[in-house]
């Protein structure tokens, strides 16, 4: 398959606004045109070619080699293609994306997939705060698609999320699914403080006993077929889902009763009952 490889020339700590690194744009551009794409390096306008050695052209398959934790907005608003990042990467990765696939071998900073509408993101390392969240002031966060983080997630994962799936393989910070409107968040590790604060609808799945707010109420012990399907899907995605999760029972809590109260937090209860 044709691809465009970007090899980082030199690592820097100065933030770079790199919304130009987007498959939709690369698809129609020659190698020279790709090198001429404009980026902001601090407050100075630069060319993409100043930072990367570009190999290949006219492809929506992008491979980035090198550590780029200072590069922001990569794949912002993308609607197709692939981005494969072989190291760490900065904020706003895949924000507002509508389709396509992003794979990150390293860690990602804050606002991963913020307000994304479709497509999928896979992170092998850890993610920062506000995964799939709404930008400040917006009424809705992630509206569709799938984010899988194999490591830990920061605070406010899935804040104001409206639809889609977020999976955190490790621990998640405070306020997981705060103000959740709909959608599903699965956390395989421990969950921080106040999960689901202000949630209206939607589902948060936890496998270790969380410290719930008093505005969540216990309903019942249940087995849910949708969850089994979801977990099977995650197994297919090569996530380590123990067999007992698939067959086990879950405690259902509803909340946040300060809001609509139609949201649910499912907590794995083991092989009881």
């Amino acid at each position: 398959m044709d691809k465009v490889i970007l090899r980082l020339k030199e690592r820097s700590n100065i933030p770079v606004e790199a919304e130009a690194i987007c498959p939709d744009l690369f698809l129609t551009k020659s190698q020279q045109e790709i090198e001429e794409l404009a980026l902001y390096y601090g407050n100075k306008g630069r060319r993409l070619g100043d930072f990367f050695q570009v190999q290949g052209e006219r492809s929506d398959n992008i491979v980035i080699e090198g550590e780029i934790p200072n590069f922001k907005k990569i794949g912002q608003g993308m609607s197709r293609g692939n981005i494969h990042i072989q190291g760490d990467v900065g904020m706003h990765l895949g924000a507002l994306m509508k389709g396509g696939r992003i794979l990150v071998e390293g860690n990602v900073s804050d606002w991963l997939g913020a307000e994304m509408e479709g497509g999928s993101i896979r992170v092998k390392g850890n993610a920062g705060h506000l995964v799939g969240a709404a930008y400040r002031g917006s009424s809705r966060g992630m509206r569709g698609g799938e984010i899988i983080v194999e490591g830990d997630g920061g605070s406010e994962v899935g804040e104001l999320m409206r639809r889609g799936l977020i999976v955190i393989g490790g621990r998640a910070g405070d306020f997981v699914g705060a103000f959740l409107i709909a959608g599903t968040i699965v956390v395989l590790g421990p969950v921080g403080l106040r999960p689901g604060a202000g949630m209206k609808r939607g589902t948060i799945v936890a496998f270790q006993e969380p410290d719930l707010l008093p505005t969540f109420h216990y309903n019942c012990l249940c087995q849910l077929s949708f969850l089994r399907i979801y977990l099977h899907h995650l197994r297919e995605e090569d996530l380590n889902i123990p067999q007992e999760y698939l067959g086990g029972f879950y405690k259902r809590y509803n909340g946040d009763t300060l809001e609509l109260g139609k949201g649910e937090i499912l907590v794995w209860a083991g092989q009881v009952a």
Binding site: Y135, R136, G137, S138, S139
Partner: protein
């Protein structure tokens, strides 16, 4: 010194309707041909172009504390509309509650050169003037909120009229204001107790006075002080079904006195509930047609995002309950209040579509264009940069019908489809320039006669009025070219417009006592000094 040559001039104050005239400008003013040195005259070729005076907006919210609260609670509004800087202009953000600079640039790029900030709480006057200092290009004035001021309410109760007049006069001086604004008289005071007033004869809690008394008193003060602009009134019961009766009664309260009713569209509703909200615009229009003392601005709905912001706190709470959107409430001590709620006007919503049609009905059913003024109550019913769209709706019956067909069918229950009237360019020049300038008492604005400020907008003559009024070829402010082909080419500071009236020193002593006891700031820090304003102009009273 220059001559604008060969343009089609629309100057309704002098009855010039599209005739080819030359206009001579010297030292920021329009002058007679013999007053310029013909030899050293720059000529601006306006042949094939339409020449009008700079636009005048009688009611807009572009600066001050509630606009700033609106900015603070709406980062999402700004994120969609970043505006980069240019050689001349500053960077900023736009959309419904833009930055001061961007607002000014966008007004200038429509050919507007004079704006009234329509609701300034006295305590926030300093803040408002500070923002207006950063609002370049345009001239601006402040209407000062007085309809719920403790001092005024108390002295209406005690019947001490002279004291009120004295106080109003002092307050205009202290705030460097241009006119008197009253918002939901009595209602905002009651909102401090979680209540509102439902009609003109409800009691204001703790004062024993009625909205009717407040309105009559303020009209009387306004006329006795001879202020250039009549009382600028936002009636009680804004937005509520059946409120046209309150509006009608309010108009009757004015008797023969001048009165300006603002965003009348929001006050023209029939029906008993939101489900059967209907148009009573024809009834109000008929009354206005018969009473020359009244003028209105419309507050036309624009479909899309808006940020509602008004001193009418109780209504904003109602709107918050209706929309479930964010809400900010502000209480301005002894003086007034405010509320801010973002809102979305949708084409397929029966109520919004009806509101849209009501605004157009008011434009089209009020016969005298001098007394109906184009506004969107920016940013309440729509952002001001949609004025060209409204102009097209007024000038083009076919476009209007197409739009009517595209909105919810409930809008067809109004008279709109039966009205064939189309505005001419001459009438557009009245409702956007000459009319508001006259109503504001700005004798040197809104026209192109000798002695007027050289605020001039020159548009290409196009069939599509929306395109035409969005793309002025040249805009001059005080004879300076500020916009050329849609680009701001000069940075320039407009003037603050104010009035000066007399008051007796004794009033300051009495207010001082009040300040010591109840206000959060001392009297010494309250009045805005004249030195504070970079440029100003005192407009003479009548």
């Amino acid at each position: 010194m220059f001559r604008i040559s060969g343009g089609e001039v629309y100057d309704p104050l002098h009855g010039i309707n599209g005739e080819k005239r030359d206009i001579y400008v010297r030292d920021g003013k329009i002058v007679a041909p013999e007053d310029v040195d013909q030899k050293h005259l720059e000529v601006i070729d306006a042949s094939g172009l339409v020449v009008m005076a700079g636009g005048v907006d009688i009611h807009s919210h572009i600066a001050g504390s509630k606009v700033n609260i609106g900015r603070k609670i709406r980062p999402e509004d700004h994120r969609r509309d970043p505006v980069p800087r240019s050689q001349v202009t500053r960077s900023g953000v736009g959309y419904t509650v833009g930055t001061t600079f961007v607002n000014a640039y966008r007004y200038a790029r429509l050919g507007y050169t004079t704006i009234m900030e329509a609701a300034v709480p006295p305590l926030k006057a300093r803040h408002t003037h500070e923002e207006l200092m950063d609002t370049p290009l345009i001239d601006k004035g402040c209407l000062i909120l007085m309809g719920n001021n403790n001092f005024i309410l108390r002295h209406i109760g005690s019947g001490d009229y002279d004291k009120i007049r004295n106080f109003v006069s002092w307050l205009l001086h202290a705030c460097k204001g241009y006119g008197i604004k009253a918002v939901n008289p009595g209602g905002i005071e009651n909102w401090k107790w979680g209540k509102n007033v439902a009609g003109l004869d409800d009691l204001v809690m703790g004062y024993g006075v009625t909205p009717r008394q407040i309105i009559t008193t303020l009209i009387r003060v306004n006329e006795e002080l001879g202020l250039p602009h009549p009382l600028h009134l936002h009636c009680n019961n804004l937005g509520l079904p059946g409120n046209y009766q309150t509006t009608l009664e309010t108009m009757k309260v004015a008797g023969q006195s001048r009165l300006h009713l603002t965003h009348l569209q929001f006050h023209s509703y029939g029906g008993e509930s939101m489900r059967n909200l209907s148009s009573q615009a024809p009834v109000l229009a008929e009354y206005i047609n018969e009473h020359e003392n009244l003028s209105i601005d419309v507050g036309q709905i624009i479909f899309g995002e808006v940020t509602t912001m008004t001193a009418d706190g109780p209504w904003q709470y109602t709107l918050y309950q209706l929309s479930h959107n964010k809400w900010a409430n502000s209480d301005v001590e002894y003086e007034t209040g405010a509320g801010i709620v973002p809102f979305l006007f949708k084409r397929d919503n029966p109520i919004h579509a009806t509101q849209w049609a009501i605004g157009l009905e008011l434009f089209l059913l009020i016969q005298d264009p001098w007394r109906v003024i184009l506004t969107t109550d920016h940013p309440n019913a729509g952002p001001f940069f949609f004025y060209p769209q409204i102009i097209k709706l007024l000038m083009d019956k076919k476009y209007r019908d197409e739009m009517l067909a595209s909105v919810h069918e409930r809008a067809s229950c109004t008279l709109l489809s039966q009205i064939d009237r189309e505005y001419s360019l001459y009438e557009i020049a009245i409702i956007t320039r000459a009319g508001p300038a006259r109503r504001l008492g700005l004798r040197h604005k809104g026209h192109l006669g000798v002695g007027a400020d050289a605020d001039i907008a020159i548009y290409p003559k196009e069939v599509d009025a929306e395109w035409m009024f969005s793309n002025p070829r040249y805009v001059f402010k005080d004879g300076l070219l500020v916009v050329k082909d849609g680009q701001i080419v000069t940075d320039y500071m407009g003037r603050s417009l104010l009035v000066e009236t007399a008051w007796e020193e004794s009033i300051a002593e009495e207010i001082g006592k009040e300040f010591d006891r109840f206000y959060s700031i001392s009297l010494e820090n309250y009045p805005v000094e004249l030195d504070y304003l970079p440029r100003y102009e005192v407009i003479p009273c009548r």
